[in-house]
Point group: D2
Chain length 352, copies 4
């Protein structure tokens, strides 16, 4: 059973069906097709405002392209120190922006506090020619710690950024999980709270490979098509990206999938909390659970065939467990049962 | 009926089936999966040598990434003036290489003649600090004019490039069409003739969105994984790229599809050649036909619902017609019949 | 005697004196000094308009930085095929612009004809996502062939560019030579004819190492300070760049120097034209002379200690001879006398 | 009196004389001149080993170019969090490297401790495709805190870096100050302790605008000439850069200048330490003094015409005072006397 990441899941059957249907007949390439048009209309409805939408295939492309529309090469992107753009994209934001700098901020549970941002901005050297110029704020929703930002927090952070002339980006690789978790509307979590551009993820939540750069600030979208093309991210058979997104958004599939994954994480967290020697590192607000547990138990769980990543935390043994749209309650329960049985056995004495 | 491009076709049913099958169950991400392993093995067998393979989703990414492994930022890539990398990628090679220059060469029927390359190299300023340094030769196979390079021509060009320390890239967006057309082995058309890295296309020939960077020169592949990742072209659910490629290469599907497309182009060319006032611009050796015809006929064909691009040539009215794996003989015959009927009607007098 | 280039000359004594004087006492760094302020004022007066001025030390930096303010990474810069930015800067414009493309245009005597530009623009694919977007026109004044653009020609070219939303750059590495040659005002040759930004050269005409990016379009200058800094071209002891420029512009030194160099070129051209077997390749309108002459004579002149570059032209033997502010009439006469004596001797028979 | 920075000083008379002498007659451009040759010979002698030398004009260019030879675009440069390359170059390293990341390390007195580096390397994700790959270590000598690294510390850090395949860069904008301070040989402070490439500063220590990239690892120097050229940092009249460096290194001028500046800093530090309410933040080992003092005293000193920068430290009021080759003992004494007199007056009560 695989809790390593939500990207180890396959695609949802509805999305596979949509691909098969989209394959019928000829369609004009590069987005001049009805699927792409329908996705844009669907997102405008879901977000209750005009949007400009650019489907791409990977989260890294989605983020790096979006950021490149917000910052010049001499700019800086402020983000949490655990942000995917800082930690897991091998410098993609630097590549796409022509060498802008990422300025990382600390913050509990994967969230940036407004006061932290305010202090960083105060010392950032705006207008000083020797300093890179903060040009964008990037927030991750849900965060890398499996927590979420409430709309008022987003608004407070976005206001600080906008007051400095910066743009606000949201890395929404797990945006659906946040929407479900908060019970807030997509609009409330984005443009109504000051987000200018959203990386809307679908891959981790049931698509094969599909994300969308969604611009709420239409001025920022200008010339974006050239950025996407020249990065090799404009698909000729675009209908196959758009068909995934269309199915993803249709009939609430995206929210149903996320809701299920969140529920599985909650079930897992509840079970873990009840085990002796196991602790939760962060509130479980989306589909990831971070837990401390004895090192020997981690090894024993791996030996038993469970897949997940070690996630050391302040010198303690810990793990990250991620649930997905296809995680079964039985998977969760099997994990918990096995771990419980392991924890009942005393830890082996250290070698002498 | 659509002759605009082979990228207006959908995906081949076998490839759709492979995707559905690949979606079953969990798989580790980023290429650590059995599909990706099998594709590499399959390509090693097809090319009769060790290869390093990097699946990506678009032809532009495939080309630009491959070139970035061959040239430093102060380098130059020599290519035909009609090459896709020069004309149709919005500067992607420049982006991925950090600003290398494309040096274009003329040549009949979309092919570079060895003498032309030799002359360009002689004047290229190797070692002169003021000059960009030619570092790669890029050949398109089949060419943008629907013709092919014979192995001896590839060898002659590659020898000239290698003698200058340059790497040799082949843009094989339509490589399968060339293989079928020439009846040569994939090995003969690539590494045995001096090609160091191949952009192997599948999208135009039946895949949804799948290409592969294939390195024959293993030294060139070093660190390539970082280039792909940081360009946003490493898929998390890589199995879906690899499954397409696996099905594409299995049971000769790639060659069957290309053979069919080539046959449809030949049928179209034969029919066109028999029509009065219609001329072929290039030998038809793959799946594209370039033809001159009266301007009024072009307009009438478009009005009749046929889709294709105008392709002006030296001041003459001309069109490009591209066939694909799913082009039907009846489509070709309908095009020819309609054009014949139009040509029988005298051209309208110019407005006075 | 050295006719290889005007950059083989030293610095003018007045400029050396200005440097020694500028060295007295302390001054605030990075351009916050009186010299830099005075240069800006001086250029505003000379160009009869508001300007924003950025001193730098090399012509390549001056051009590449200026162009980077005019074009996005997916843009193209149109220029003559002999332009320094295309031929002699090792890809600096590509580096500074983040990978924009240079589109070269042919043209007699180093000049682009308006009709040539018009045709190129017509086929340039504005708005097409697959095509780089022409964003700047770069004109060289005086040209690489030692000729000049008249104000009406600049205006015609600039109008075409502006009609397409492009910016107009002038590479004025030898701008002073053009001003003197044409007897036109600096304003007339630049902003009054549509130039948005000028690379104003001083190094080749008497400075040690000093150029200035001069913006007439103030909007284009915005954020330029960050570009200069991050390229390593912001001098801490800026007063030493500005002092050179101040002395260069004071009391008409720049025009006097250029006038002298032009006169020496004219003297050389007149002498060459009178020699049998010698032909001039281009009108001599500035400080460079391009002449065909027998290959054996070229070798004999080199053997006699004269320094200059061979400059093959359409298969003929030819040379480039450049004069400078310190070229002496006696140098010119010695060159002519020696060449005359060599030409009187029959060419050696070719080896058999 | 100016303690703002050593870059507010002019040029040393010997360097101005060298420039005037170098200006005599013609010289071939781009470094093909005797001055450049002599500088290289001089540095080989001073460093007691073969070196490859590239003169440039600014410290930012020197650092960014040197780093670009050590790291690929997907690499990372590890440096102290106060390093000039991180704080004061507006992203130049990112620009020149094509988007590599700077990873900053904390450390007392501006120095990285080997244990800190070791820990950072252990967690750096070498070989992980999602992580930028640490490729260079950059040490600042003397540091931004006016301290120095002893040879054994350099060796310990360099060994850690080399063990990971990283290159070692030294930002020696104030290298001469460190040499004098430590009484160690230039060789001992660089290649004998593991430094692969040195940014050797001269500008802050008596030159007008001259630095040199000095490669000890000859393999790293390969193709560097193209990097310098395409960044616009290859001077046509190179003799004027090289003449500065030649005079700087001749007869120990560089060490004499640095020795004087260091002595002035020591005099200043000794005086400050004796004043009530003034504290030194770092050991004074080169030519910079960092001192805490009451905020009202800072204001009063500025009002009295002394120039220096506020340098807040952990919430305390503090200043940075930099001495130079031309700082006079009387300047130092005047500063101390004025400050003493100010400190005798009670601080004004805060407004109520």
């Amino acid at each position: 059973m695989n809790f390593a990441s939500d990207n180890t899941a396959g695609a949802h059957p509805a999305i596979l069906r949509a691909l098969a249907e989209a394959s019928e007949g000829r369609a004009m390439p590069y987005g001049n097709d009805p699927w792409t048009e329908r996705v844009a209309a669907s997102l405008a409805e879901i977000f209750e405002t005009a949007v400009t939408v650019f489907p791409v295939a990977t989260g890294t492309a989605c983020n790096a392209l979006a950021l490149s529309a917000l910052t010049p090469p001499w700019g800086a992107v402020m983000c949490h120190e655990s942000a995917h753009i800082e930690v897991d994209e091998c410098g993609a934001p630097e590549f796409f922006t022509g060498g802008a700098k990422l300025m990382t901020l600390p913050g509990g549970d994967g969230r940036i506090a407004p006061a932290t941002l305010e202090q960083a901005l105060a010392g950032a050297g705006f207008g000083v020619v020797h300093s890179v110029q903060p040009s964008a704020l990037s927030l991750t929703q849900a965060t890398e710690c499996g927590t979420v930002y409430r709309p008022d927090a987003i608004r407070a952070l976005a206001d600080l950024a906008h007051a400095r002339g910066m743009g606000v980006h949201m890395d929404g690789a797990r945006f659906a999980n946040a929407v479900v978790s908060l019970g807030a509307s997509p609009a409330e979590l984005t443009w109504r709270s000051g987000v200018d551009v959203l990386s809307l993820g679908a891959t981790k939540n049931g698509a094969m490979a599909a994300e969308a750069v969604v611009f709420f600030d239409q001025g920022r979208a200008d010339r974006f098509a050239f950025r996407r093309k020249r990065a090799g991210h404009l698909f000729s058979k675009m209908r196959f990206l758009s068909a995934q997104l269309e199915a993803y958004l249709a009939d609430g599939l995206w929210l149903a999938n996320a809701g299920h994954a969140n529920a599985m994480a909650a079930r897992l967290a509840a079970g873990l909390a009840a085990l002796p020697g196991v602790g939760l590192l962060h509130p479980v607000e989306a589909n990831a659970v971070f837990a401390t547990m004895p090192g020997h138990a981690i090894e024993a769980m791996k030996a038993a065939g469970f897949r997940f990543y070690r996630w050391p935390h302040d010198g303690s043994d810990a793990v990250r467990l991620v649930t997905a749209f296809d995680t079964q309650p039985a998977d969760v329960d099997a994990f918990l049962a096995k771990l419980q049985s392991i924890l009942l056995i005393p830890a082996p004495a250290a070698a002498t």
